[in-house]
Symmetry: none
Subunit: 224 residues, 4 copies
Amino acid sequence: MNDLSDNDLSGNGLPQTLLAGYRNFMSGRFTDESLRYRELAEGGQTPETMVIACCDSRSAPEIIFDTRPGEIFVLRNVANLVPPYAPDGEYHSTSAALEFAVQSLHVKHIVVLGHGRCGGIKAALDSESAPLSPGDFIGRWMSLVAPAAEAVSANTLMTSGERQTALERISIRYSIANLRSFPYIDAQEKKGHLTLHGAWFDISTGELWVMDRKTGDFIRPSSE
Amino acid sequence: MNDLSDNDLSGNGLPQTLLAGYRNFMSGRFTDESLRYRELAEGGQTPETMVIACCDSRSAPEIIFDTRPGEIFVLRNVANLVPPYAPDGEYHSTSAALEFAVQSLHVKHIVVLGHGRCGGIKAALDSESAPLSPGDFIGRWMSLVAPAAEAVSANTLMTSGERQTALERISIRYSIANLRSFPYIDAQEKKGHLTLHGAWFDISTGELWVMDRKTGDFIRPSSE
Amino acid sequence: MNDLSDNDLSGNGLPQTLLAGYRNFMSGRFTDESLRYRELAEGGQTPETMVIACCDSRSAPEIIFDTRPGEIFVLRNVANLVPPYAPDGEYHSTSAALEFAVQSLHVKHIVVLGHGRCGGIKAALDSESAPLSPGDFIGRWMSLVAPAAEAVSANTLMTSGERQTALERISIRYSIANLRSFPYIDAQEKKGHLTLHGAWFDISTGELWVMDRKTGDFIRPSSE
Amino acid sequence: MNDLSDNDLSGNGLPQTLLAGYRNFMSGRFTDESLRYRELAEGGQTPETMVIACCDSRSAPEIIFDTRPGEIFVLRNVANLVPPYAPDGEYHSTSAALEFAVQSLHVKHIVVLGHGRCGGIKAALDSESAPLSPGDFIGRWMSLVAPAAEAVSANTLMTSGERQTALERISIRYSIANLRSFPYIDAQEKKGHLTLHGAWFDISTGELWVMDRKTGDFIRPSSE
């Protein structure tokens, strides 16, 4: 099973498109920013912002925010969800990343970045879909927003597209509420050292909608 | 706690650097690829590769592989770890992402992308460090590689830099082994429908080292 | 009670701002289009489109669509609603306007134009509000969308702004469905002689969202 | 029946002339008044005047009075009629709009704006015309002025044009009288908080004739 596939003509096993892209990176961006990379290696990373984004191939935060290396610390999981605080001794990748970002890197901002056409949100709304695997990890993971999914699904006067967008935005607010269930996040926010943000990216139009922290509504930045 | 911070001059709450970057994206890359984004929105994503990378702000796979939107499905957690298969009904963000990528999107490749100077790996090696938080989520998460960390730490003839690189690479192989503990991943790999890859990125030099699937060694791609 | 108010310095009773505006019209637009007005007077109106819009002072269709005189036949009522077909011998201003537009003027398009921040829709969502008048005409009129208002109000996970937008769009679809309850409209549409459209105007940003006739979703025109 | 018509080249369904006009609006007037639109969205509308006008495509009050967004609240129906007060629990779009304008927005003026060559008035005078539809909504709606239409028609010494203008002006006075049948309108007018106006627009010449509130005559504004 370890034979080289058709993609492995160079003998090292990475897909050719990734290797070709890597060579572009080296001859382009890395050459331009080699000093910055060296400094970031020697001095360590000091990002001011953590972004919690979806795994979706169409919503990479480094692309959407055109960030430089070292600028944002990025957690990505299905549907950019933050589970509630649960110090139960289990493995929690989200909680570990939050602890690292806030307690060690002292980021000043956490941005929960959702997006349209999210497959995880669609799965949450699609109640009659069969599990993908016996373990049904997607079903279990998306059950975090099950009550909201049920409330949204109940409104059959909205189109399926409108229900999808509604749940995408509700789950961003839900994740932000869960962020505040972490004692050190709540404390840092109350001290004014940490700000929590929500944003939603429309893949089709490129529009970025930003959550108003007072009302929870998503609006377009005024100076866009 | 909802007062606008100094960054909120535009009244919408996102850090100014992200908003400025987003405007660059819209006037540049999105304008160039607007048709592709629209097609990806309407037709859905069909990435051929999943990348499991670290949250580190210096190792974004979209940058290192210069990928286009829709090309890679990306999970990011601290130290790019894959826990072993555990269908226990708990919330598993990593398992959910794997299930979505392999069972729903039918990716052909999974790349575990590690990198140098990884803070998570450093924490695993630094046994006398106090927990960052009472819940100690980082400690719990990195305990996935605790036996390997102990073995590496015991070798005092290696420098601390060598021990760090050694554990970074051991943990990539460990994550790939854990990928195979997922029954559907093992089955797809055996059928030749899925290939598992390891890679390690040197932040300082930009070098990409690719894991040889026969030996487990990390080598430089031949044509680089 | 017929004494002239402060606004009546010119002795004719119209508010001064309207008189001043009328003089602008006469020296500007009417002068430029006097031939067109004369032709429209002598030949009669032949608009191809009927627009059903809200009374709201911020959403005049002639402004939003920058139309010329004679171009659109315009019905305006609170919340741009179309009641269902009811040939009961009562006075129906909406039905009379539809009959005139479709049966006499033979318009080819009917556009139901809603808008954000609609006071009528807000009244429909605000169930505990007291009637404005003993007759409660607003309450009775908005009861046309009462079932939808209840369904939307039930979802308390959406913000009040999101609920408002949701009901504004649902009621546009509702009005379009009611248009089809008129036998002659249904017949003309089926023959391909008449097309029904929905649109929603965002007062704050000026954005126009157009209803996709297949899905009912509201989207931005592609070439905007 | 959902096939796209010839007008739907852009795929979104609005007639091309409206979309082109909308683009003019966005690049012109909306750009000039974007701040005003934003303020009107956030602060709500506060029009001082309600205008009751005809659906006719040639008599848009925003054009004739060259008004700015937010300035006039506009009801439009066939022949700018106000039915008498009837708190019977039926759907009354005119009464709902009046209630909203006077009781909620507290407008200071109501202007009934008629115009020449009105198709609704012509239908009322043309007694032998067959109903346009089995429900005969136009006939029923225009029956509001049937006694006046009969009286005018009986005067065969007037030309048909004179009879038309006569009924157009009589029906403006009739609508103003019906406005006073609404208890809260009568009360506000008697307190001096609300003024009722009549006006008649000549499509052919652009002339505006204003009703003298003492005599009911229509005269040209003195300073025109």
